[in-house]
Point group: C2
Chain length 138, copies 2
């Protein structure tokens, strides 16, 4: 079975089917992707990445987060090199089924960001001294 | 000042500038957008939406979440009709500055989803009885 065949085409369904139904009908964008928000179980956002149908299917089937790398143009197991794999505790989908929320446990060193930070969102946006905005690590 | 002029072009900066610096250098995609993850202060993901430069600038300047609607092709104040505006408590940006995380308080009825749910992510993805996956409200 191909991975895209795993998910029905939502174009054949009603808005009510997509928003209120119990059928998984992911709405992949023009590039074949849905956004994936990754948080820890306490609710800290760790990273944001993309999934094509294969990445979503493998993530759900294996319980280990797979993504589609737009820069490398290939399927990608988060942590495949660092050992910081993401074990999926819960997967949720939004109303129009074009975004996924994964609650995960980070394996290995517990680090989700390639910079070595626990979360990719290691900087807050704050007002700058002379107007505009600047970033502070926190 | 135009809103796009508010943010420098990250193409003129190094990877270290973008990832480790204190300068806000949002990397808008080919459609001029960055993704925006919206959570409440407790860490529940409420919604995912898009921001162009104007939406990001107005959000930061006013403290009220503005987005770019891809379907309506216009700037959009979340809650402009329902009254459920999103007051930004904290804004964060990720390592490569192409995704924003807003921690918000939902005004009005405290409902972030157009369906009337508190969060757009009102369904979990669970294994189906006959294989595959299905959605359950929870």
């Amino acid at each position: 079975m191909s991975d895209t065949a795993m998910f029905p085409d939502p174009a054949g369904r009603t808005k009510a089917d997509v928003e209120a139904g119990s059928e998984l009908l992911p709405k992949f964008d023009g590039d074949g992707l849905v956004g994936a928000i990754v948080t820890d179980e306490a609710g800290a956002v760790l990273m944001f990445a993309w999934m094509n149908a294969e990445a979503l299917a493998r993530s759900l089937e294996t319980g280990v987060a797979h993504f589609w790398s737009r820069s490398r143009n290939r399927l990608w197991v988060k942590g495949e090199e660092s050992g910081n794999r993401l074990t999926i505790r819960e997967a949720r989908i939004d109303c129009d089924q074009d975004a996924v929320w994964l609650k995960v446990a980070v394996e290995g060193a517990g680090v989700a960001c390639h910079t070595g930070a626990k979360s990719c969102f290691y900087r807050a946006i704050v007002p700058g001294d002379g107007g505009g905005f600047r970033l502070v690590k926190s």
